[in-house]
């Protein structure tokens, strides 16, 4: 007998988007680790080196998409784990909007940081 363990209701939208972002993140997170630890080395990081990468629109776009998908995947995972734990009603609504606000702050701060490296001064 095989049993299926998951915090998600199969077939739901949150489950589907968690899977779609997972497929993307499996590739991009592996690339991120490989690039920043094996091609470059963490102890050699400088502002100029980070800028040089981020000034490429391809890399910049990939990192922004990485930030958004990682934030969604992480926060959606936390939200579903808490629902699986028994979170309901008003508490669920409060947690949901707290996570939405935390995600928005994280994404804005991440984009501002990327812009600082890329030399973009709109945000």
């Amino acid at each position: 007998m095989a049993e299926r363990y998951s915090s998600f209701r199969p077939g739901g939208r949150r489950w589907l988007w968690q899977r779609i972002t997972a497929a993307f993140l499996a590739v991009v997170l592996s690339f991120h680790f490989f690039l920043l630890h094996f091609v470059y080395h963490a102890d050699e990081v400088t502002f100029a080196l980070s800028s040089a990468r981020m000034e490429s629109w391809t890399y910049y776009s990939l990192m922004i998409l990485f930030l958004i998908t990682a934030t969604f995947h992480g926060v959606n995972g936390v939200y579903n784990a808490l629902i699986n734990q028994g979170l309901t009603g008003t508490k669920q609504t409060i947690v949901k909007w707290t996570l939405v606000v935390a995600s928005a702050i994280l994404i804005v701060q991440g984009v501002r940081t990327a812009n600082a490296w890329a030399g973009i001064s709109i945000l």
Binding site: H41, F47, T113
Partner: protein
């Protein structure tokens, strides 16, 4: 064949002695997920020193990377990320109906591969820390 059943609240860790491989995979996936989402917020906070200028960013990163404890934590982060990725791919396959009957074997394979990749990466992660 897949069979659903009422397992009650999944976080009933008091039953840990009864956990199957699939349940342990779920527990490890959840634990590594919490670590990674916590790290994501920390990571952006540290990188945000770039907003204070080039010297602040370079100084912060190089100071942190000069600490042996940070290098060891990075190896731990790698292990957590590799397991989450490998087990996540395993979950994607299971959701597609592939390998459900051998999910215990694929969980053990994820663990072994995580260990092998982590151990093989230690020299690169620790280089220059001494």
């Amino acid at each position: 064949m897949s069979q659903s059943y009422n397992r009650g609240l999944i976080e009933d860790f008091g039953r840990w002695r009864e956990f199957s491989a699939g349940m342990w995979a779920w527990v490890f996936h959840k634990f590594t997920g919490w670590v990674l989402v916590g790290y994501l917020f920390t990571h952006i906070a540290v990188l945000s020193t770039a907003l204070s200028g080039a010297a602040a960013y370079t100084g912060t990163i190089q100071t942190l990377e000069g600490l042996l404890v940070v290098r060891i934590l990075e190896v731990g982060l790698l292990a957590v990320a590799v397991f989450h990725i490998l087990n996540g791919l395993r979950l994607l396959m299971i959701d597609l109906g592939i390998g459900l009957e051998s999910q215990d074997k694929s969980f053990y394979a994820s663990l072994i591969l995580t260990g092998a990749i982590t151990v093989a990466s230690v020299p690169t992660f620790i280089a220059g820390a001494f």
